[in-house]
């Protein structure tokens, strides 16, 4: 994975995440999600992005975080993985951030083990840490048979 480059950033809980914009990112808000009864708990549901079906993944559930006390998971970060569109429902969307390889470091070992699986590494920014997510693992790591 290329460690430098542009990242779309967002917050889930206290974490500050980034996914490479090379994967094809788009941000929207206020989508009406159709839930999937019996589906994996991480799957918040489906919505329609210009005629395409998007699978929305609840990042708080995915990261084993408690539900947002303030409620709405209104913001979605889109990316494509193997011909299908996914959206991450996140608390707050940050800026597009440019980073270089100098700030990169391997995943710190004191991270939540569930989150660590999904994290490629960390960029030490001036004021905070940017956790780089592996979008493919977010999708592929979901346990499909839960019910």
């Amino acid at each position: 994975m290329n460690r430098s480059g542009s990242y779309a950033t967002f917050y889930v809980g206290n974490f500050f995440f980034g996914i490479p914009i090379a994967i094809g990112v788009e941000v929207t808000k206020g989508q009406e999600v159709t839930p999937v009864p019996l589906g994996p708990k991480e799957v918040a549901g489906f919505f329609n992005l210009r005629g395409q079906i998007v699978t929305a993944i609840n990042m708080r559930t995915r990261l084993n975080l408690p539900d947002d006390p303030n409620g709405a998971d209104a913001l979605s970060i889109f990316f494509q993985d193997q011909d299908h569109l996914f959206a991450l429902l996140v608390d707050q969307v940050g800026d597009f951030t440019e980073v270089t390889e100098q700030t990169f470091e391997e995943t710190p070992s004191n991270l939540d083990p569930n989150a660590r699986e999904l994290i490629v590494g960390v960029h030490k920014l001036a004021d905070k840490l940017l956790l780089v997510l592996d979008t493919h693992k977010i999708v592929s790591g979901i346990d499909l048979v839960q019910n």
């Binding site: 009406e32 159709t34 839930p35 999937v36 009864p37 019996l38 589906g39 994996p40 991480e42 799957v43 549901g45 489906f46 919505f47 329609n48 005629g51 395409q52 079906i53 699978t55 993944i57 193997q82 299908h84 569109l85 996914f86 999708v139 979901i142 346990d143 499909l144 048979v145 839960q146 019910n147």
Partner: protein, 768 residues
Amino acid sequence: MDNNDQILDEFLLEAGEIFDQLDLDFVQLEQTPQDKKLIGNIFRAMHTLKGSSGFFAFHRLEKVAHAGESLLSKLRDGIFTLNEEMTDVLLETSDRLRAIINGVQKHRREPEGDDSALIQNLKFLTDGGVGITKIAPAPSSVPDPKLEAVIEGPQVFAEKVLESSPADLEQDLLEVVKEASIDAAVNEAESSKELAAPVKVSVELLDKLMNLVSEMVLARNRLLSFARTSGDLAFNNTVRRIDTVTLELQERMMKTRMQPISQVWSKFPRLVRDIAQDCGKKVELIQIGAETELDRTLLEGIRDPLVHIIRNSVDHGIELPSERLAKAKPELGTVKLRAFHENGMVVIEIADDGAGINIPLVRQKAIQLGLVTAERAAKLTEREIIDFIYLPGFSTKAEITNLSGRGVGMDVVRTNIQEIGGTVDIATSAQGTRLRLSIPLTLAIMPAVFVRCKQYSYAIPQVNVIEMLRYEPREGVPGVEDFYGVPVFRLRDKLIPLVFLNYELKVDPVLPPVDQTLNIVIVQAAGIRFGLVVDEVLYMQEVVVKSVGPLLKGTPVYSGSTILGDGRVALIFDINAIAVRSGIIAKLADNQFEQDISAALGANTDSQQMLMFDLLGLERMVIPLETVDRLEMIAASRIDRRGNEAVVLYGKKIMRLISLAHYVEGATQKSLYGDETVPVIVHYHHGQPVGFIVKKVHNIVNVPTQVVMVSPPQRGIMGSVIVNDSVMSILNTQEVLNLSGLGPHQEAGLAGDRYADSDVITMDREDK
């Protein structure tokens, strides 16, 4: 003939393309003679030509292509390397083939000609020879139609000369010349009328167009929902126009995806032939309805299942010729493929006239594999036994052949067919087996019924929907009942199991109370009918099916999704999966099992022997045989009266006679005359004989113990039983005895007075 013409046209088009490619390939080959891939391409091209020409019985074409193919196969396998000599001969082969094809195009039949020299050269080279004698260019390789026809004339003529007597020669000569010139003229006329060649469009482009049309349908749906609330007439008219155009566009677009099923079938004659040969059987394949069209993606889906089924038919189904003859079947077995449209589905039938599925063997195998206990297996119906063959790893073949017997057949067939929304049905007998696949025309757009559960809409594919109904609880009418743990609903006297959708989807943690209005969608899946209880039935609409993506692979309840008019996503149910998930199928199977047991246990007690008799005006009464002691015919003249009772001397006892007609509702009484003889059923009551006078005694019948109670209760009748579709009434012996004054603690013949039964006996009074 139209059909054949069309096939021929297709062949000619294909051949034209092959030659264009061949020319390019040959040129390329001269530069890179070692290119195996190129030789492979040429080889395949030759092979295709040969195959097709065999079909049309173009023997020249077939022979030349075959000879060329033989040489090419050696080149392909690296036995020879291409030299100039070979290239020459191969090029000549290509030219010759093209010339023949040109001839076919003009005459609609293969032109005559001699290819022996060319074939000989090809053979010579194939056998490793070097240095061939150059041959003169073949006459028919000249493309000018006029010239060709003229040249052909003498050839035909020459042949005729050999056959004919000299006297006919002159006439023949004239005819040949005439024919030749006519041919030439016709050819010229025809060549000016070019075939409008179809345009080849890439599948990707078609798919993309299809997607766009799908989008269009969705946009249209949204527009329609706007129009519903809008009062603007001009706007509404425009929307309606868009609606119709979209509909037509969608239909036309679907057509581009449709392809005749012959695309898949075309490989089967060869397949059947090969398998038959391997098994030492004689099998003929009959194809009916090969022009039936199916969505291209579905065609792919049915290819493998069909191959499996045909293999099974030939390998398992059709018997060896000797066996067939012994069974008085024709030596030549047939496998019949038939495709046709039915109810918006495409039905494909594969019928063989073989031995049929060996039910006892399947049963035995199922027991052997521990799938079922021997006792249970003995009670399974034929259909249930057949169901075993769908299980993975199930095969009755003793040995594995390279064709079949690995037990990976029918389960794969069923899974594949179900994946594309189809169903499989098997019927079998000693005269053969018939498989019936029902397949939807297309998967991309389908009609669906929308239902609401909580605040969300879901779609149910319309193919699964039988009917929709609303149940309102009413006093005295049985509503939802419990049947072995399955809630069931009575629909026109049939029990329909219910699935409460909210509960099944775990949206509601508990089953809702059943004494309320229920909206039920009766659906059919996996061979059973059940009712889905939903919050509301909304509307029907054509939906564009979209994938739900990889994350619902473990949630088989949904087969796809679609976008609603308001832009939201709705999930489409997989009714099969819901049936499986809800456990209805399993529970019903268990329940069937229980019924089997009770039937088996009750085999002795469940049916009871009864004597059937008639009363006047009331036929088919029965009385339990154990209560019958004897049957007597008693002459009316022998009957005496004792007070109000009619009695007869019976052995050393006095037998009280009771006219049953008097105590049984619905029967008519009849007086007896002195010379009449009446049948009497003798019953012992507390050691005393009592005679029931009846009209006629029939035979002893076996009746089920399960008694249908009559309501309101009828005097003298205990209830009804159903025997061979007719209803019989059981005599309530005790009641009759009570009524006639012979209660449980009374002695026969003594109690009558107390009841002042003046109406008991009228029969021996000759006052009528």
